[in-house]
Symmetry: D2
Subunit: 342 residues, 4 copies
């Protein structure tokens, strides 16, 4: 049995932990061989591989990124994409494929399985934690920890100068990172894409905070938008992973708050720091368990499935579930956080 592994989409702390766990268990317990495909679906499409065995996965558990590289290549957009993938799977004698990725990567895996009978098992990955099929995805906890630490640091500088600090975090369609890091960091306002914000209300919070001689921290997801129109984002370009570039909503907010309240305001855009570096303990544990369960699904011949976390259990769900529905922040949960605003 030869199993191929690939990682697609934006990188997440924990990818290497998944790869390592699958290879360790596959080789040691089931006697499988492994092949790494490079750069997501580009690997099987163009036949680019990397050796994948026990020595190759040694020492990678605490390392961020992915030893396999990543890309957003979609074989269905490539000429003869599926045929070329088939040929390469044959050429490298691949019996099963573990695809680690988000909505797009797993969507391809689902379709390759359903329509072409290619034997795939999926491992969900999204730093934004916006897949409804799983309680958490790895990388999210690391990002939240990094953002929280940054907010901790900004409190003292904000208070020394009595200025507003706006922290822009990842989250184009879902505000999970903003919500968790904002709550954990003691933010005075949390703005998420799920609910348009009212700039007047925010300025009210800012002013009430200053009245008690504390300085406000506003945490804003990159995809958050004001109530009146989407003027904020009109000059923002999107990067190739769909994330809003600098001079987005954070910068706009700081300028508006300054203009309306007369208080100095500054923006910090955390950017790629949130998705790099060593994974948190939780993410290493979750990614490791995902890797172990993915190789078990391969052994069971349970293709077309994806591993997922439910409570403290790792379960299998249909691959289609990965793309079924974006998990956005529940309004009730967001309202719960409101007690800390202002």
């Amino acid at each position: 049995m030869r199993v191929a592994v690939l990682t697609g989409g934006g990188d997440c702390p924990g990818l290497n932990a998944v790869i390592r766990a699958a290879v360790r268990k596959g080789v040691q317990e089931y006697g499988y061989d492994f092949t790494g495909f490079r750069d997501g679906w580009r690997g099987p499409l163009e036949g680019v591989t990397v050796p994948l065995d026990i020595p190759a996965v040694r020492g990678i558990l605490p390392r961020g990124g992915t030893i396999l590289g990543s890309s957003r290549t979609n074989p269905f957009s490539a000429e003869n994409g599926v045929r070329r993938i088939r040929e390469n799977l044959d050429k490298y004698e691949v019996d099963a494929l573990i695809a680690i990725g988000g909505e797009d990567t797993l969507g391809v895996a689902a379709r390759l399985g359903d329509e072409y009978g290619i034997r795939c098992v999926g491992v969900p990955k999204t730093i934004d934690n916006d897949l409804s099929a799983t309680d958490y995805t790895f990388g999210f906890d690391t990002a939240v920890n990094i953002a929280t630490e940054a907010i901790d640091r900004l409190h003292t500088t904000a208070e020394s100068h009595m200025r507003v600090l706006v922290v822009e975090v990842m989250g184009r369609h879902a505000g999970w990172i903003a919500l968790h890091a904002g709550l954990a960091g003691g933010a005075n306002a949390i703005l998420i894409p799920e609910q348009r914000f009212d700039i007047d209300q925010i300025c009210g919070w800012v002013e009430s905070r200053f009245k008690i001689r504390y300085a406000p921290i506003v945490v804003v997801a990159e995809g958050a938008m004001p109530k009146d129109g989407d003027a904020v984002l009109k000059d923002s370009s999107l990067d190739s992973f769909g994330h809003v570039r600098l001079s987005g909503v954070g910068e706009w907010l700081a300028k508006e708050i300054e203009r309306r309240t007369g208080k100095e305001a500054r923006t910090t855009v955390l950017g790629h720091v949130q998705r790099g570096g060593t994974p948190s303990a939780f993410d290493r544990w979750l990614a490791t368990r995902f890797g172990l369960h993915a190789i078990d699904a391969v052994r069971d011949g349970d293709f077309g499935t994806m591993v997922a976390l439910r409570g403290t259990q790792v379960v299998r769900v249909p691959l289609a579930a990965a793309t079924a529905k974006l998990k956005t922040v529940d309004p009730g949960l967001y309202a719960e956080a409101g007690v800390f605003f202002g």
Copy 2:
């Protein structure tokens, strides 16, 4: 409505976050007054209080420990304990009490409610994560992160000198910290109280690790014991929170491994560092949600209950559930980790 809050048992990162969230919501949304009882059940027993209002909880979210102090006082062991508690609740005009603590503290709350009609809501706290009624307790994630970071550091020094490093972590009856930190840190052996260990097998792992020119890290819970008798612990005193003191199993293991394999072995006992300091983002988020839901239980008059995490939801369960059953590591879960041993 006046609500009293107390924290009992060993301290955990996140206690202050619970207190802050309950007070913020209680005051701002429900118009409650608060009283802090000092040092767990000693507070209501001896009538020792601390002021608890919005200014008192400002800035405490990122701080470890508890602003209320803690103790292991059990009012049922004190003369006229219950009567004195009643008198003090009357004296301070307390209508409801939020008790934050582990098995012992919550057991007292349950009994005070059941037998004496005292209106209590519980918040579970155990750094060992060994309460079966909740998926996780706050403080655990912080402890696991600290232990994992220590293991990361020990890898390089172990390898430079080709010696064995034994890391003793908390966990007297349950091996959760050892299991999670050991998996996250890439340990070569994880020893937990739930399953007696075989020193010969461990020495085998140690030797096989050296054969590939890597140095082994052994993570051991303080309550782990060898197969043949409990000789290890016979000289160990227990501290007042029931934790094994230095020169416990870690030290014993290093000596045995050295004696049997001829390889140098060293022990690091992480000790109290694991339970101190600023909580991780996850623990701040969990503790904050526990605090918000505890005050909601008070408002609903839902006494005799305790908040608990199930998946991503905070629910209420009977207080009795807190003490019902120790949540130990499942043998299947432990076996799953075995692929990384040796």
Copy 3:
């Protein structure tokens, strides 16, 4: 004897440690009283004070920012500034003043001493480490650690996607943070204000780095400029502390690199995160020693001086030395780093 303390200019991790050390030693060993002036020179100018005694400085050692607040108020620009300061020093019975700040704050202290006989001792503070009178200033080591940790994180995400990552760090006139963090983080190019950079050379480094399948990290000080003109900064506004705002040189660089090499490039602007939060151990030690030595200078009646670090010794130098000469990166030192570029 009553000693007043003030902190001026941009905040730095370590300010509170200076204040605490001066107060602890002044009260305990010399029996002095203390008065805190709020918000730099605004405090003595407008007569705004904060109580400053042993309880006030308890627990502030690990806290970033300054409990006294800060501002950039210059009494020489205010009407009757010096007279008002004199009156307030008399009113609050201040015998000596410890001024903690950078070039501007200490320049005022020097002039108040020289021209008006006001008894001042200075403590140098600049996160950029650009004062020539002292080997290091506190806050710098913390900023370098934060920037280095960010660079560590960016390496893995850069490599997973084979893209260029540009990290913009503080340093408007001096490139010390960029140089130290760039060296410590293993950057492939470090750009500093002291030497105009050649965009063609940088693109050459970028391309040679990709050739060996590694992704380049470019660390750039906010004040760095390209060889041909200062077009980069023409749209950038400066904040009130003279730091370049977002969409500065980092963003410009990423776009130019992308345009010229065809490789994806991203920017991370670390911003205020660098100057906030808990100080590193080195900065706490240095700030504490500065505070102890400043109060000793007061006791010795050694006014018009400033404390400074020379090797491992804290010495006193004339206050004028603080403003004498900007300490920029020595060309030889910068050239030394060049071996790691490309």
Copy 4:
């Protein structure tokens, strides 16, 4: 020109940074070849080498430990030691040798140079910072940061339970780590090997601390001893690097304090965690500069010298200076810290 490199003695964060810098500059700027000798002087003694070139040093900058391995082998204690070293230097065509190590390792290098004409350049390494020839050695700052972070964590748990926490840190003959981490962590007592401590005085400090409702932290260097006799250490074994093992002075202190004051006391022995893991930014910078300057000394033919830090400059001093005199804590400096005790 072929240059050999070896690392001897206990490992320190920063060793890999020295190796990398020397190899990068040696290969790129001077066109040298390199050979790594494994495990300190065992390498040239037994002829055990590792390949050392640009690919071998890639990515090692942030990694603790040493890729060359280490040992305490002393060729002068080995039969025909010097002759065998000579033969292996000839066999591997080594023209010059960079020895990175402490007193012992560099003492061998000095003697090999003086007595046998072997061309050596030294790089000082001691985590205890006790070499008088250099202001700082790399590894020390990392150790101090780790110990300070641990002390930060212990404050909150100490205060929640109103107990004494004793933290035992490295430092057998010199108390630098204890002094710096104790000052940075806000310890209430710092005990160093240079000055015998008075247990009655410590108990006095402990009691005065509790009177103001704070809990004391006592930082003790492993080599500290009480005034009356050295009874403390009589049962302690030393490990092969001369460090006191567990159940040393820290444990003794906690028991004595408990016995004399009646207050609960606990010990944390930081142990090997202090010397492992990724170096701080300062240590990476210092180690990198040491590596660059060591290879320059080789190029200049300046053998029998060692690099050293003086202020912000790296200079060369005779190798003999490395072993001339232990740099212990100056009594004046220690007295300065006394203002924070109690």
